[in-house]
């Protein structure tokens, strides 16, 4: 009898469980009716919103020229004026200012951290009254055209990770470069030139290398890789026809090759094959487009005066700035310059003067040149390094001879054009130039802002690789609204 009762109760529970279960499943099924692609395995969010090659919204800037100052120029001798450091020359950096900042192996062992002010004087320029050091008089003159950000910060303290972070949004290599993301996101404007090009130059200062991983396409399609234009006889490697082959032969060869490729495309349907055909065709068109771009002999005299006479010496920063203008004017989405030699651990006043002389006139000329062609509104120019430098001296301190170590916490860059507010000085550092006290801008924010100006929502520009979606801004980044027009 008792067993019957027990069974009855169990049965009731089981029945109830099952009926409840069916109810639960039923309501789930009802819910699933409201989700179009729940079980189809197709992602329903961001990816569907993103169509490669077209901006999400109307862009302010169509193109970017990034003047990367490789090695990290000192903010304290360029755009962040700190008279207090001069007053306190030789005194110790207060530990309260330094806080928990970890130092590099180069100064961590140093017993004393003597503050040192800029060897060079500063002046205020333009309506914006921006402070610019005497090392950059030409950039000072365009102060009303640029926006100086004095509150950049990054996460890395050594060159390679910091540089990689700025270029790819991650400290380890293997991610696509910013230029590759832009090429993927917006496509190419001019079908006769690559969408992403790279130009290298080197100053006399203590330098750090740059490597092709910085302009790698990462997991994106290889057409988005940065194409290096060099100063030698063959600006683009492997572009010229071999001896004994003329344009007609090349054309015939390409037509035949395209036919063969077409056959295998029809057989296998691999889209990579049609990409290949397109790439061959673009290279063919580049054969006539590139020499025209590289030819600076037709530039008028006042352009030469504006950029400085070095702009006619191939391989110099000035020549690369001129080239950057020509490439950009011809619809290259992203022109990436690197000028090496900014790593002043010692002998800073002298070395930095040399570096500044390399870049000052040409950088300013590039902005003015774009402006006078009516192109500055749609071209975003960026000038800056991978981090800043310490406010204390590395090694022996003399008034005219000192060095500065790496400093990721606070440094300065500037931008111009492309819908960035001109004549603005954004952000502020403390009186020691060590910490940011107003409007910090992280590298992810910087990336988000650049993409925003190009009409791309940085949260939507994604690519799925190895099972997850990647973004240039990882899972962070906010558009810096305060610097937008």
């Amino acid at each position: 009898m008792e067993k019957d009762f027990l069974e009855h109760r169990l049965n009731v529970n089981r029945r109830r469980f099952l009926s409840r279960l069916s109810l639960g499943l039923g309501s789930m099924a009802l819910g699933s009716l409201l989700i179009p692609d729940l079980f189809s395995g197709i992602g329903s969010d961001s990816e569907a919103d993103f169509v490669p090659g077209i901006p999400n919204f109307a862009p302010k800037a169509k193109r970017v020229i990034y003047l990367f100052q490789d090695g990290a120029p000192s903010q304290l001798e360029s755009f962040d004026y700190k008279p207090k450091l001069r007053e306190m020359m030789g005194q110790e950096l207060p530990p309260s200012v330094r806080g928990n900042q970890i130092l590099t192996g180069m100064t961590a062992q140093q017993k004393s951290f003597p503050l040192i002010g800029s060897f060079y004087d500063f002046k205020q320029y333009g309506e914006s009254k921006a402070w610019v050091s005497d090392l950059f008089p030409h950039i000072g003159k365009i102060a009303d055209d640029i926006c100086i950000i004095r509150s950049m910060f990054t996460e890395a303290i050594n060159h390679d990770p910091a540089l990689t972070f700025f270029q790819t949004g991650a400290q380890q290599g293997n991610r696509p470069s910013m230029g590759s993301w832009v090429s993927y996101g917006l496509g190419s404007e001019n079908k006769n030139l690559p969408a992403f090009t790279v130009l290298l130059s080197k100053g006399k200062g203590n330098g750090q290398g740059v490597y092709s991983k910085l302009w790698s396409n990462g997991f994106l399609d290889s057409i988005h890789q940065g194409v290096q234009f060099s100063s030698g006889e063959n600006p683009v490697l492997y572009l010229n026809d071999q001896d004994g082959i003329d344009r007609r032969d090349r054309r015939k060869m390409l037509d035949k090759l395209a036919e063969l490729n077409d056959v295998s495309y029809k057989e296998f349907g691999d889209p990579e094959i049609s990409t290949k055909i397109q790439q061959y065709e673009m290279a063919y068109r580049m054969q006539s487009a590139v020499p025209e771009i590289m030819d600076v002999s037709k530039e008028p005299d006042d352009i030469v005066k504006m950029y400085g006479p070095d702009c006619l010496v191939p391989g110099t920063y000035a020549a690369n700035c001129l080239l950057a203008r020509k490439l950009s004017e011809n619809g290259v989405r992203f022109v990436q310059l690197y000028h090496q030699g900014w790593d002043q651990h010692s002998n800073l006043p002298q070395e930095m003067a040399g570096q500044a002389k390399d870049v000052d006139q040409a950088s300013a000329a590039l902005v003015t040149d774009l402006k006078q062609r009516g192109l500055l509104d749609e071209t975003l120019v960026i000038w800056g390094g991978e981090f800043g430098r310490t406010n204390y001296s590395q090694g022996k301190l003399e008034k005219a001879n000192y060095g500065r170590d790496h400093h990721p916490r606070c440094f300065s860059i500037w931008m111009a054009g492309g819908g960035i507010k001109p004549g603005l000085v954004y952000g502020e550092s403390d009186e020691f130039g060590y910490n940011i006290i107003k409007d910090p801008v992280h590298v992810h924010d910087f990336h988000a802002t650049i993409l925003n100006q190009l009409g791309i929502d940085h949260k939507k520009l994604t690519f799925k690789s190895q099972g997850r979606r990647y973004r240039l801004t990882d899972v962070a980044g906010n558009v810096v609204k305060g610097i937008l027009v």
């Binding site: 819910g31 999400n56 009254k129 004017e329 619809g331 062609r373």
Partner: protein, 719 residues
């Protein structure tokens, strides 16, 4: 207690609804509410009041349920149970409606999130209480805390809900004012949003209707125009005559300086703003964006304002057919949509050689959609302006370096939206360009390198104040310095005469040079022409000159003659392993080491460096030169002694030369120098031994003491 059929049904329904809510919370991101269901969602704010009241009643009854008086009261108990069930059920239904509603546009943000979570918590708590309340362990304590928790959640959820419906701070708004927000630049008035706030912050505490110091009020336009007891505050357009500016610019200690010492002072920007506002006629109604973009007042004011609110330009035309766009697109004519879902198109045309006017004409089928046209460097003629005028919605037109003269610019007046016109590098017709006034929306015109005289541009600017005319870089005539000449020679150690190859990248540059070690000048020094032959050790100094430019720095190039090359060379006493280059042959490879001793082209040693050279054919040798480095910061000194031994073979070597350079001095600069040894006995030699001796003990001033110094040699010249 016997359950009725209805109660069982309602319980099952409640369970199902709870599951549905959980499901919704988990997968809500992907849910799309069909339109026919949206009215149900929108009834959420209406229905919500029913469960609120029922649940509050249920909770009050629950709170007192275990009181002796009520615990036996059947009606009380049953009524409470049904109240709970009804309340929970309606709460769940309402919550689901709310979730539906939240999927409609405009419901994101923190408030909605909080409301959502507290709302569903109410559903879950009330369901839980309903389920547990008949269990044996369900005590008075649990009943009371459960009821209180549920009421709290209900109140908080209700509060956030009200925020969504009525806006934040609805109740307190009439009595509490939060901090003032920045005004977007496109909506701002110069006076109201930039100038007046300065008065409000720094002046009005003393100059208001209640406290009118100096008889002056700065609180409204009328009072401002009236001024104070010392007279009118300002003369519009004449800042230097304006009392306001005189007072604020007085020295700090002065009694009449405003604001008085001790009060918050005006910043430099603020003073500047007041100055510029008065200078630009103290207009009370002017909008900030009506000022030209480069106007000082606008530039400074922008710092006090928010960027223009994101207003994407709206176009009133329909999109063109995708297939048509695809068909018109080719390698040299790129047509691209401005953005996703935008009907607007941009067109860029490339390649001078393939350009033809019909490339524009062919676009007639999409002429409504083109808002941006880039014809940079194309040979576009005036005639094509007519075609361009047909692109009625054009905003941006780039005609840089085209062949247009603008003589018929008038035809473009049909472009009523054109904002930016770039004409840089064209040869403009001064008369035709005047028609630019007909382009009503134009704000920017690039006129660099157009040959228009300065006064013409000034005239244009005057008659079109809203347009920003960009004149661009103008050579101010001040000379700048030329860059150095470049040397194209690649070999600087020569065995036979070679031509000197100097070039300069700038056309029309003269290169002057000397060979005697003096700096060249622009008059007396030799003018470089191709064909100069170098046949011996030569020190070239060259400078570039061009009229209108400063001369360049000096380029210095040294050529070294080395007539003989030995057939073999080996170390008898070798160098330091780290600085051994490519072995002894590094010393005769005709490749100089430059300034960097660590680059593998220099041979370095802290011991005597002894080299043995052999010639198959005896040579008539007169000098042996060792190219040495001095770099005292790295303890590198010139050798203290060099000995050259020679003879017909290794067994018959005689000392032919000894050179002892002067002792090093403190602060001797960096130097690369050929140390020449003249051989005492001339005659045919087959074997040669050269010894270079480093300094044995570093001088006393050197920071590294009691060590031998280094000797570094990169090349041996034999003549």
């Amino acid at each position: 207690m016997i359950k009725t059929r209805y109660q069982g049904f309602a319980e099952n329904l409640l369970f199902a609804l709870n599951i549905f809510i959980i499901f919704f919370l988990l997968f809500g991101d992907g849910i799309v509410i069909p339109q026919w269901l949206q009215p149900a969602g929108r009834m959420h704010p209406l229905i919500i009041h029913f469960p609120i009241v029922v649940l509050i009643m249920a909770m009050v009854l629950e709170f007192f349920r275990f009181k002796e008086r009520f615990s036996t009261e059947k009606l009380y108990q049953e009524f409470t149970t049904y109240l709970w069930l009804t309340g929970a059920l309606f709460a769940a239904i309402t919550a689901i409606m709310g979730l539906f509603l939240s999927k409609e546009q405009g419901y994101d943000g923190d408030t909605v999130q909080w409301h959502k979570w507290f709302g569903v918590t109410v559903v879950f708590i009330s369901t839980l209480i309903y389920w547990c309340r008949s269990k044996g362990w369900y005590s008075q304590k649990i009943a009371r805390s459960g009821a209180v928790a549920a009421v709290l959640c209900l109140v908080v959820a209700g509060h956030y809900g009200a925020d969504i419906t009525h806006g934040e701070n609805f109740i307190l708004a009439p009595v509490w004012h939060p901090e003032k927000k920045l005004v977007p630049i496109d909506k701002a008035l110069v006076f109201r949003d930039v100038v007046e706030p300065i008065f409000e912050n720094k002046c009005n505490s003393c100059h208001n209707p209640n406290k009118t110091k100096g008889g002056l009020r700065l609180t409204d336009e009328k009072a401002l125009l009236k001024g104070g007891k010392d007279g009118k505050l300002f003369v519009a357009g004449q800042p230097q005559l304006s009392l306001l500016l005189q007072r604020i610019h007085m020295p700090d200690g002065e009694k009449k300086h405003m604001p008085p010492s001790g009060k918050p002072q005006l910043t430099a920007d603020e003073m500047n703003l007041l100055y510029l506002w008065i200078k630009e006629n103290a207009d009370f109604k002017k909008r900030v964006i009506d000022l030209p973009a480069s106007d000082s007042l606008r530039v400074i004011a922008a710092n006090y304002l928010k960027p223009a609110e994101e207003t994407e330009e709206q176009y009133d035309f329909a999109a063109a057919d995708d297939k048509l766009i695809k068909k018109l697109n080719n390698n040299y004519r790129v047509i691209y949509p401005l953005a996703q879902n935008s009907p607007a198109l941009g067109v860029n045309i490339y390649n001078k050689k393939t350009y033809q006017p019909k490339m524009l004409e062919e676009l007639s089928s999409i002429k409504k959609q083109v808002v941006s046209l880039d014809l940079n460097k194309m040979p576009v003629k005036d005639a094509e302006l007519k075609t361009i005028a047909g692109f009625e919605n054009l905003r941006i037109l780039n005609l840089n370096f085209t062949d247009v003269t603008g003589a018929n610019l008038k035809v473009l007046s049909s472009l009523k939206y054109l904002r930016t016109l770039s004409l840089a590098g064209t040869k403009l017709d001064p008369q035709g360009i005047k028609a630019i006034s007909d382009l009503k929306s134009l704000t920017k015109v690039a006129l660099w390198d157009t040959g228009l005289p300065e006064n013409e541009i000034a005239g244009l600017q005057k008659s079109n104040p809203k347009i920003d005319f960009i004149k661009g870089f103008k050579d101010d005539g001040k000379p700048i310095k030329l860059n150095d000449p470049q040397v194209k020679n690649t070999a600087f150690v020569i065995t036979k005469p070679v031509p000197l190859e100097l070039v300069h990248p700038i056309k029309g540059v003269e290169i002057r040079y000397t060979t005697d070690g003096t700096d060249p000048d622009s008059v007396k020094s030799m003018l470089y022409k191709p064909g100069v032959i170098i046949s011996q050790n030569t020190n070239i100094k060259a400078k570039a000159y061009k009229p209108g430019w400063y001369g360049s720095d000096v380029l210095q190039v040294n050529f070294y003659k080395s007539t003989y090359t030995p057939d073999s060379i080996s170390f008898i006493v070798g160098p330091n392993e780290k600085y051994s280059g490519d072995g002894a042959k590094t010393l005769i490879d005709k490749d100089l080491g430059g300034n960097n001793f660590g680059n593998g082209k220099w041979i370095g040693s802290q011991k005597d460096l002894v080299v043995y050279l052999q010639f198959k054919q005896p040579v008539d040798l007169h000098t042996v030169t060792l190219n040495c480095m001095r770099n005292m910061g790295s303890q590198i000194f010139l050798p203290v002694g060099i000995e050259v031994w020679g003879g017909k073979d290794a067994a018959h070597l005689k000392l032919l030369s000894t050179v002892k350079p002067p002792a090093p001095q403190k602060n001797d600069p960096f130097l690369v120098k050929g140390m020449e040894c003249k051989l005492a006995v001339s005659g045919k030699l087959s074997s040669l031994k050269i010894i270079a001796k480093p300094i044995q003990n570093l001088p006393v001033w050197d920071p590294v003491k009691k060590q031998p110094g280094w000797v570094f040699v990169d090349e041996i010249f034999l003549n």
